[in-house]
């Protein structure tokens, strides 16, 4: 094998091991940088990991399905991680129960704004119908949003991209926006972050404040439920 390094590359580039390892190593590096910059929003580890891995795939001419064969083991954990949100919810039950009414009202309002704003804007910009449908569920966590897109006959992979873009922009904007608006209630800030920017917002919220993280996680899981019900309804009302 040592006589032909290319043969080794061909072998490794087709095996899940290389791509799984790369995903973890690049993330560990990006996370270390994020930590070193005291979690600056622009040093978001998801953002930087994605372009580094993506660039590497393009430079080596590796297809996304080949990469995903390795990375799927990480992707799979999105489901268990959603279930695991029960634990912070349980541990903070007193804070949560005390704010149940504001949460439910904010959930309905926020979810409607998230869906309607994106559909109306995309229609106004004259984007093709498949793109409009693929963007509609962008505020919920990737696994759920892709399921919604599939049931609408939209493009699930474009949905995944718009979900991640939304999450990244949400976490870059949320802290300066909330500080400028003078909002100091971390329950409200976290809830908004989780509703608008799903798991990426929740990951960020846990870094800022534990209570914000819990409310963000609740918003994310409740919004997955509400959006799954509202998107088909909104599409029927707005587009047909």
């Amino acid at each position: 094998m040592s006589e032909n390094p290319f043969a080794l590359w061909v072998y490794l580039s087709q095996s899940p091991l290389l791509w799984l390892t790369m995903t973890l190593v690049v993330y560990a590096g990006a996370d270390a940088v994020s930590l070193a910059t005291e979690r600056h929003p622009l040093a978001n580890p998801v953002l930087h990991s994605i372009w580094i891995v993506g660039l590497f795939l393009m430079l080596t001419g590796t297809s996304y399905p080949t990469y995903f064969a390795g990375a799927q083991f990480v992707h799979f954990l999105l489901g268990p991680a959603t279930v695991a949100l029960a634990v912070p919810l349980y541990e903070n039950r007193k804070v949560v129960l005390a704010a149940i009414l504001p949460m439910l009202v904010a959930l309905v309002v926020g979810s409607i704004v998230a869906i309607v704003s994106v559909v109306v804007l995309a229609e106004a910009a004259g984007l093709p119908r498949t793109i409009v449908l693929s963007l509609a569920p962008k505020s919920v966590t990737a696994g759920v949003a892709m399921g919604i897109a599939e049931s609408l006959g939209a493009d699930p992979s474009l949905t995944a991209v718009s979900v991640i873009l939304t999450g990244i922009m949400g976490v870059i904007i949320v802290t300066p926006l909330m500080n400028r608006a003078g909002i100091t209630d971390f329950r409200a800030r976290g809830f908004a972050a989780g509703l608008a920017a799903h798991g990426i917002g929740t990951a960020r919220a846990f870094q800022v404040d534990a209570v914000a993280g819990v409310f963000s996680g609740i918003a994310m899981s409740l919004n997955a439920l509400v959006t799954a019900l509202l998107v088909p309804l909104a599409i029927t009302l707005l587009l047909r």
Binding site: Y64, A71, T82, A86, V87, L101, M169
Partner: protein
């Protein structure tokens, strides 16, 4: 650790079976979340349940471990952007602008509603 992770997977599995079986438009893991929550509450009332993954903070630690690295889990789906570069070259600016405006509107609407309702509640409880 293995037992705790099994309990999480079992909740998700039951959630998926439930959702598919009844053809509900709800993601399976969300039902799994509710199930685990019910189990945690049930444990406080029935000491019989407080063993295995539900005793000694087993499932709590496993969950915290998963949630501590939540960001990592979005990378495989995000890298999917490499498949959509031609589409992004054509409509990318419009898509990014729309998503940015929408996320700001969503954040503001949500936070404002939350604060208004919690203030109304506080005022209502002040004057009974």
């Amino acid at each position: 650790m293995i037992v705790s992770f099994s309990l999480i997977l079992l909740c998700q599995l039951i959630g998926e079976v439930f959702v598919r079986g009844l053809r509900l438009p709800i993601p399976g893991p969300v039902i799994g979340l509710m199930l685990l929550l019910v189990l945690l509450f049930a444990r406080d009332h029935f000491s019989l349940l407080a063993r295995g993954p539900l005793g000694d903070g087993g499932v709590e630690n496993a969950s915290r471990g998963l949630l501590a690295n939540l960001s990592l889990l979005f990378i495989p789906a995000g890298v999917g952007v490499v498949q959509k570069l031609d589409l992004l070259a054509e409509h990318g600016i419009a898509i990014v602008l729309i998503l940015a405006i929408s996320v700001v509107l969503t954040l503001l609407a949500t936070v404002a509603t939350f604060l208004v309702v919690s203030r109304l509640m506080a005022r209502a409880s002040e004057k009974p």
